[in-house]
Amino acid sequence: MKDSALVVAGMATLSAGTYAFRLSGQALRARITFPPRAAKLLEAAAVILLAALVATTALTEGHGFSGFARPAGVLVAGVLAWRKAPFLVVVLAAALVTALLRILGVS
């Protein structure tokens, strides 16, 4: 954390903005009808952002490749999640696979 003031400003923006979203939906309810298609697009936008975050944090470090151990762990977690394994199993499997690969010398 290099610039604490900026981080706090970001936190305040996120907190206040999120509350505003929660409030405005209720306030607007009487006045407008939100097209379901727009709601779906918003939802998809969230999933796309998060998927991109998964890809970049799993595969990259700085501007380069992160090495094989971490994406391998995430891949195993993804397969487990797809097969509806419990959340805890999914997350611990990612850490375990990555740690084991590193013990075996895979970076």
Partner: protein, 256 residues
Amino acid sequence: MRSIWRTLDRRVLADVGLTCVAVFFIGLSYGAIAVASGFPLWLPAALSVLVLAGASEFLFVGIVATGGSPIAAALAGLLVNSRHLPYGLALPDIAGPPGVTGRRWARLLGTHVMNDESVVFALAQPDLPRRRAAYWACGLGVLACWPGGAVLGGLIGSAVHDTSAFGLDAMFPAVILALIVKDLRDARTLRAALAGAAIALVATPFLPPGLPVLLALAALLLLVRAPATEASTSPGHQASTSPGQEPAAAEVRTAP
């Protein structure tokens, strides 16, 4: 408060409890990851109480930790949280206190505890009193469990020093993936998400940190251009409106 216990049947309460336990565990990983990425404990703790929307907090922490601008991170988080607006539109007067109406502070609190879980549980109830009760039970439960998990996770994370040896760096993407996998069962969403991920990866060597993730939104064009199959809701999507059908882990998409 007491009216919550009287209004809801035991099965719904058990489902709410299970969901809150799951939220607690996600909170644990969130706090541990945030501290492991170099943030002080107060940061995830404060975010968990003030924002109370897990996915956006993960996104914020992830972008800032990789060197992105905190303001860009906040805007990305807000984009994720914009879904709360349609939530408010969809729920008829539910954030009011159970039983008594019109108490101002209760309404303000009721607005704050609006999240994926509380909304899903509310929508599954047949009438307004039960909707309110379910909404409040789940909302307050998450308000306790999410920050509680985050603080405890942060304390545990502070005790671990070499995070890469334990593979903790793989936990962050795994958590997010576990939370969105339900949405990815929809073929069109999956296609757009993969395209977005590819865009972000290709952009990473060239752009400053944080921006590649935002650039991924270009993949939305895939969904805008092809309106098509409105009627065909994916099985994964239906699960989000029927709490209790699946174990808690499947429900807590973007907890809380």
